[in-house]
Every structure is written in structure tokens, then in C-alpha cells.
């Protein structure tokens, strides 16, 4: 790394220097590494800013002395980048902080009243368990129902045409309606039928059924895409071994299809969990309803922050997990190629 740059205008990676050295040669090159990020960062966030400033100055001096070292140039550029990032982060943090503190901490007090937060959170968390229970029950039902619909839609031959048409109609219908509307239709409709089985259902059960009906349609399309993506040779191989159509689906095609949809299913679970708050229209006491009652009660928005935290505790790790699964399968594919 004690290599030197003959002409600073032609750096090894072509990024170091973009400008030309002045004809008399004793000036630092124009352009990168610019002094502006280090200077701005020194003002906004000195710990990083100062280091970058020192490095930039050193590099300039070495250029002026006619022996700029590559290592030094790289260091100067790296620190200039850090300085830029640090300056930007500082600006954002300051802006957010200013917003919270504005008007004598009005925003901060409205959203993050620790007293209100700690008082409301036990009730909210207790109610949020309903969201979790309903969403998990619904998700299991959604996966099964989605699979049934997807297989129904993939049935081969003319004999199954009516079934295919019904399934397509169902999927189109429930994807075309607002979820809230379907929830109202099913949640109030099922008990109103007067049929004993439905009439005695709890709000949890009708709510879960409503979510299954809506999200089953979406998840069915994901499964269908995954089934279609499996090479036709897989079905031919399974059939030639004596598997019937449904046996081949169950043991050969669906296991592969489900595997490839795992990240999508996790994403849809996040949507289902979020939409459990819509079930409050049916009268289900869930996290968000409880939080809203507390808001009225306390004249403070902190309970909403509390219920946000409940959702985030579940959804954020799931988002990361989804990304991780996608990344891992992408790496696997690359490793194979």
C-alpha cells in the first residue's frame, strides 16, 4: 500500500480524482476528495468530521508535495464518505428532535407521555393478544384454504372446467372488494343467518372466517403462481411413477410450491395481523380499539404509540426474517450457478 499515484488525475479506481491538476502542478486536484463533506461534518458531527478533515488535509498536502499515496487517498475518501453519512444522520435526528420539542414539547407530550404510556400498555397488550390469536388462527386457515383454491384452479381437463370457473370467480370477487366490506358482510351476515352453527360463533371465529375468506383469495394466487412455476416434468415424473393427480400434488408439487412461497406467506401474515384491527368494526375488543378508548379517556395519544409498539414487536422481526429467507435462497441459487 505504499504505492504512489503518478498522476493524481488518473487514480487507480478512477474515482479518487475527477478533476485535472493545474498546469503548474502545485495545486491539489479539483473535485474529489472534496473538502466540503469534512467541513460540513465537522460543524454538524465533530467526532467523524474532524477525522475526515485531518485525512483530507493530509492527502492534499501529499498531493502538493507531489507524492500522493494510494492508501492515504483511499483513507481520505472513506472518511469523507463517513463524514457525509454522519452529517446527514445528524441533520435528520436534529430535525426529528426539533419537531418533538417544538412548542414547549407539545408533540413529545402528546405522543410519548411515559405516565400515560405505562398506565395504558397493560390493557392494550392484553387486548393485543386477541389480534395475535385471531391472526394466527386465520393464517393457518388462509394457507389451507389458499391451497385448496389454488389446486382447484389448477385442475386439468374439461371435466373440471366448472370448478375452475367457480374458483376464478371467487378469487376475483374477494380481491375486488374492500377487505373491510367483506368483514362487515361476513361478520354480521353469518350470525344473522340464524343457522345454529354460525349463530353461536364467537367474534373471534367469525372474524377469523372473514379474514380467511378475503386473504385466502390472495394467497391462492400466490400458490397458483408457484405451482405454475414448477416444471411440467415434475408432474410427468410423478405420474409415470404411478401417482394419481392429487397424490402427485400432495407429495411432489405442493411441497416445492409451498417452499418457494414462504417469504410471501410471511409478508401476507404481516398484512393479516395488521388487518385484525379492522375486526373492531364487529365489536371485537382488540389492541387498537382498546388504545382508542384510552386515548379518549386520557386525552393523550400515547396509547396509540403503545399499540404501535405491540404491532412493531411482531411485524419488524418478521420483515427481517422474510428478507433473510429471500437472501439465503438467493445465495443458494448463486452458489449453485
Amino acid at each position: 500500500m505504499d504505492q504512489t499515484i503518478e498522476n493524481p488525475a488518473q487514480s487507480p479506481d478512477g474515482l479518487l480524482v475527477v478533476g485535472q491538476v493545474d498546469s503548474d502542478g502545485d495545486n491539489a486536484p479539483h473535485g474529489f476528495p472534496s473538502m466540503i463533506p469534512p467541513i460540513v461534518a465537522t460543524v454538524l458531527f465533530p467526532p467523524v468530521g474532524l477525522v475526515s478533515l485531518v485525512n483530507a488535509v493530509r492527502y492534499r498536502r501529499s498531493v502538493r508535495e507531489g507524492k500522493p499515496a494510494v492508501a492515504q487517498a483511499l483513507r481520505a475518501r472513506n472518511w469523507a464518505t463517513y463524514a457525509f453519512g454522519a452529517a446527514l444522520t445528524t441533520l435528520i435526528v436534529v430535525a426529528v428532535a426539533a419537531f418533538l420539542l417544538l412548542n414547549d414539547h407539545a408533540v413529545l407530550r402528546a405522543y410519548f407521555d411515559l405516565d400515560a404510556l405505562s398506565k395504558s400498555i397493560p390493557d392494550i397488550a392484553g387486548a393485543f393478544v386477541s389480534n395475535l390469536t385471531v391472526s394466527i388462527t386465520a393464517e393457518i386457515g388462509i394457507v389451507i384454504w389458499g391451497l385448496v383454491l389454488a389446486v382447484g384452479r389448477s385442475l386439468p381437463g374439461r371435466a373440471y372446467l366448472p370448478i375452475r370457473l367457480i374458483v376464478v370467480g371467487y378469487i376475483d370477487l374477494f380481491r375486488a372488494l374492500p377487505g373491510l366490506l367483506t368483514i362487515l358482510l361476513i361478520g354480521f351476515g353469518l350470525p344473522a343467518t340464524g343457522i345454529g352453527f354460525f349463530a353461536t360463533m364467537s367474534l373471534y371465529q367469525t372474524g377469523a372466517i372473514a379474514l380467511i375468506v378475503v386473504y385466502g383469495a390472495y394467497v391462492a394466487e400466490i400458490f397458483r403462481g408457484a405451482i405454475d412455476a414448477i416444471p411440467s416434468g415434475q408432474l410427468a415424473a410423478a405420474r409415470s411413477l404411478g401417482f394419481g393427480y392429487f397424490g402427485a400434488m400432495r407429495h411432489i408439487i405442493l411441497p416445492q410450491a409451498i417452499r418457494s412461497t414462504l417469504p410471501s406467506l410471511l409478508n401476507w401474515y404481516i398484512s393479516v395481523l395488521k388487518d385484525t384491527s379492522l375486526l373492531s368494526v364487529l365489536g371485537l375488543v382488540e389492541g387498537l380499539t382498546t388504545a382508542r378508548i384510552q386515548v379518549t379517556f386520557m386525552s393523550n395519544l400515547s396509547p396509540l404509540v403503545g399499540v404501535s409498539l405491540c404491532f412493531l414487536v411482531v411485524t419488524l422481526p418478521l420483515s427481517r426474517l422474510t428478507d433473510y429467507i429471500i437472501m439465503r435462497s438467493a445465495r443458494k441459487r448463486q452458489g449453485k450457478a
Binding site: P231, Q234, A236, A237, S240, G242, G244, G247, Q256
Partner: protein, 247 residues
């Protein structure tokens, strides 16, 4: 009575006539090679034998079962005739041994231990006893095709349909797969195979059929068809092979 019989078979894909009054018989212990330019209908013929394709006219029999009958037990037909594909079609979510076990367990209802024993014996037979727990993606093309053969043999078929099983392989891997087919032929397995490997056909075939226009255009002993055919299209096909140094 021949084991496999195709009688006056006609098959169309929309307006295209793929098979045209095709007649073909394969006796027990015979090895019949189908040769012909690509697109002449070899794969389609094989797929009609185990009912992967339906036919419009004529009849297909396997033993005493009429494959083309609407009331045939198709799964019984497929248990009798195994098929090996050009692109292996192994199940990618299963290891080699699971590939060989799954149909034994789910179709034949064998218990896990018995299926595993049979699978291990067959994989050893095709020289893969050390790779039983590998997934297909970790195996070479030749190894994958050998697993596919073991998977088919695990169903104890009475005949095999082999559809250009070496044409997706690198040249140096062709030998290991053909060696297994050669052994099966020596053991008296009934086989109907589509192939581009003329020297192999010459070696194992009891009969070679040249396919053209969706039917058997000329057939006879390998020595005759591959060296001195009587009819012009067969002669032209062989001439082209010689010119491209494939014979």
C-alpha cells in the same frame, strides 16, 4: 403376444398430425430402439405407452391392459412400465434416496424401512451408495440420471421407456448411464428407448425402428437398419449422421 402394442395410433396436437397410423410391438425381453430426426415423434410415442399423452385414434396395450381405454386403471399401467426422462426430472426437494423411496411408500404402500432398503440396494447398484443423502443439485447430470433410473426400478416395472436419457449429458458422463442400460438389457428387461447413440443402439438393440412422419418408416435388426437400410429416408438420415461424424 407382445407386451407393448400400439395399433393404428393417431395423435394430433391441434392441426398437427404427430402420430399417423402408427403400429409398433415390443415383445417381452426385447430392446427396441427408436431413431429418427428430432421432432419426428419419438417422445410422443413413448408418452402414449404409459398414458402421459392421450391418443385420438387407434389403441395402445400394455400386457392385458388397454391404455387408451377410458376405464383403464392408469396407475396400474404406470406401475408396469417405468419411464426415464431426458432431463431426469428428479424431485429437487428430496435427497437421492428419498427420490427413490417416495413412490414406493406413497404409491405401493411399502413401509419406510423396506422402501429404504430397496432404495439403498438400487442406488448401490447404480454406483451411488456414497451419495444417497445428496440433493439432486449436488449431483452431476450422470449421477442424477442414475438416481432417476433407480427411482424407476424401485417400482419393479415389467418394462422401461427411456426417452433420450443421455442427450442432456456431457459426453464424458454418457458412458456411466449407458452401462446401466446395458446391464438391464443383459438381464432381459423389456425396453423401448429413443436414442441418438447409434453405436449403443447397434450394441443392445434387438430391433431398431426408424421413425418418420409419425410412424415406423423402416425397422429391422440394428446391423441392417444402421448399415444398409432399404428405404430412402432412412438412407438420407444415416448419410446426414455420417456427414456430421455422429456415426
Amino acid at each position: 403376444m407382445s407386451f407393448v402394442r400400439l395399433e393404428h395410433v393417431g395423435k394430433t396436437y391441434g392441426p398437427i398430425n404427430v402420430l399417423n397410423d402408427l403400429n409398433l410391438r415390443v415383445d417381452k425381453h426385447e430392446v427396441v430402439c427408436l431413431i429418427g430426426p428430432s421432432g419426428c415423434g419419438k417422445s410422443t410415442m413413448l408418452r402414449c405407452v404409459n398414458g402421459l399423452e392421450s391418443i385420438q385414434t387407434g389403441a395402445v396395450f400394455v400386457g392385458d391392459l388397454e391404455v387408451s381405454s377410458p376405464i383403464v386403471d392408469m396407475n396400474a399401467v404406470r406401475r408396469r412400465v417405468g419411464m426415464v426422462f431426458q432431463h431426469f426430472n428428479l424431485f429437487p426437494h428430496m435427497t437421492a434416496i428419498e427420490n427413490v423411496m417416495v413412490a414406493q411408500r406413497r404409491v405401493l404402500g411399502r413401509d419406510k424401512g423396506a422402501a429404504r432398503d430397496i432404495a439403498f440396494r438400487l442406488l448401490s447398484r447404480v454406483g451411488l451408495s456414497k451419495k444417497v443423502d445428496k440433493y439432486p443439485e449436488a449431483l452431476s447430470g450422470g449421477e442424477q440420471q442414475r438416481v432417476a433410473i433407480a427411482r424407476t426400478l424401485a417400482m419393479s416395472p415389467q418394462a422401461l421407456l427411456l426417452d433420450e436419457i443421455t442427450s442432456a449429458l456431457d459426453p464424458e458422463l454418457v458412458g456411466e448411464v449407458l452401462e446401466i442400460v446395458r446391464e438391464l438389457a443383459n438381464e432381459g428387461m423389456t425396453m423401448l428407448l429413443a436414442t441418438h447413440e447409434m453405436s449403443f443402439a447397434r450394441e443392445v438393440a434387438t430391433r431398431v425402428c426408424f421413425v418418420a412422419d409419425g410412424a415406423i418408416y423402416e425397422e429391422g435388426p440394428a446391423a441392417k437398419i444402421l448399415s444398409d437400410p432399404d428405404r430412402p429416408k432412412t438412407q438420407a438420415f444415416l448419410r446426414r449422421l455420417v456427414e456430421s461424424h455422429r456415426l
